[in-house]
Amino acid sequence: MDSVPTKPRRSLVDRLKDIDRRVIFVFIAVAVIIPMVWPIGLSLKASPPSRALFREVESLPRGSVVLMAFDYDPATEIELGPMCLAFLKQCFRKGLKVVGLALWPQGAQLARASFSEAAKGYNVRYGVDYVNLGFKAGGIVVIDSLGKDFRESFPVDVDGRPLSDLPLMKKVKNFADIDFVMALSAGDPGLPFWIMIAQGRFGRKVGGGCTAVSAPMLYPYFPNQLVGLLGGMKGAAEYELLVGEKGPATRGMDAQSIAHAAIVFFIIIGNVFFFISKRKQKLMGARA
């Protein structure tokens, strides 16, 4: 009796050579998720602009007032949110007061979330240690008005409370009462305007954070007009390293590293098995 023609059994090598792509998907997902849940903190060296920013903030005396601009939206939160958290934690730990505002409409809500998250574990109170003034349209004009009086553009805070009810705002009238400006910006209006007005016109010290895409454009401002700059998720991870918090950016960078390594690993595996099967075919061809 003739044997039923069966599918030729594929060797292990052949099967590994064409692994089901879903296996790769699983590995990629794991490579990203594991470092996000348990960050490793892979060797990362803080670049000069990040270190400069950190040192500048460390040197501010207790009680100094920092103005923080939330000029970004949910689309860029993954890059700028972690910077914001690390920076706020540094401020709260050092006993600095933070005044937040937004030139981007969705920035106000992001600021609210960031403040409440950073405040966990620190003895800080709204109105005394930090305030959120909310969003104001107008870009550069708004920044300009802060030089005269904060109340011109922000008569009330994000929840509609008059500034006179907030103890922190009693001692902040205009730029003269601000010791440091930190602008997190994802585009326009953003960091260039803060540099132009707050640094250029009113002589405040300005530091910034931006997306990886816009970092090359902003680096030239450092160190003359910008005290320091954090670029993209990498900049955020560097700052977390300096502040000593393994936050979302460290997790993100670790995930990046591991995912890249996983892809390279698969490329190598693919090639190894490709060569083995090629040699086997050659051998079999020679035998036949």
Partner: protein
Amino acid sequence: MLTRASVSFAGRRLLHLSMCVLAGSLVLCCQALCQSPPSDTPPFPATNLVAKDTPDDDGGSITLSWTLSADDSGGKNDVIGYEVRRSKDPNGPFETVKSVSKGTSGVTDESKVENDAGYYYQVVTKDVGSETPSTVFGPIQAGVQWFNLGRLNTLIVTLIYITLLLYFIVQAKKGAKLFIRRIAGLDALEEAVGRATEMGKPILYVPGISTISDVATIASLNILSGVARTVAEYDTRIIVPNYDPIVMTVAQEVVREGFLAAGKPEAYNEQDVFYVTSSQFPFVAAVDGIMVRERPATNLFIGMFFAESLILAETGASTGAIQIAGTDAVAQLPFFIAACDYTLIGEELYAASAYLSRAPLLLGSLKGQDWMKMFLIGCILIGLITLNAGYDGFKSLFDIPLTIFR
């Protein structure tokens, strides 16, 4: 002659005057001390103000330039900005038309500038408490230029190109034999259609995600017309999901025409050439769905693509379809190359129409394109020789806008 009385009077006046001056300066000093530092002296003015009609435009615009004030980025460095003021009368009154931040040494005034009216300009340097006007420049008129000299080089290149194309098209019309090299991706088209027929499965054709004004889309529709005809001849089904409704209407016409040319107009189904949606990812989600549900044997992604290219090509690869891609989107080429069987790279997409139809007119234009490349290589060689001989005039011929006439 002077009397004693008059002398003493004069003396008293002098004393009085000097006391006044003293008191006055004291008050001034006090004021200066009380005011916030620094003591407010007006900044140095901007100098060398020059205004001229903005070149190569249709009027309504004047371009100004000046040298920065000595107190801007130097001196006391307290300049905060400049205001550009304009008047039709050299003695004023001047109205502010533009203000710019410090470090700016030029500006274009386009605020209601009337053509052929004489304007006088002044630039005012400002610091925190004071300002200094520059000298007035004028009169200056804005005017219409009938030719944009800044684009003369573009015009010449365009004319050379048109001449080359037309010359070879005419040659081709006369019956000159024209050679065209092999393009693997296009040779594979017919094979791909044949395979779908054998398997009894449809063909998926995605004409990119751009509009009809994009030449890449038209190049894709040209290829579609050839594919549709072959498909009709083979009695295979073709599915064309569209991102843009206008592209859809053209694609419907092109496919119908292809079926007509193959003599099978009744086999054409208009509902197979349809509109999905005009946003990138919903479109991709739907096309992915088609790929896994209809299981086309052949996927053609030809036209303009963006980040979604790899999502389409990988999903297609997972269904085991033969895939041919073609795009001029440089950033997406690597992904198509990695995930598709054949890829038309850049210019090959545009050569496809000639390649598939072998129409002499189109082949002629391909030859024109090649001669244009030779011309370009020649330009590069001449440019390199002249540049390295220390002459950069040749290189400046390629400036955009061309400035040698300014």
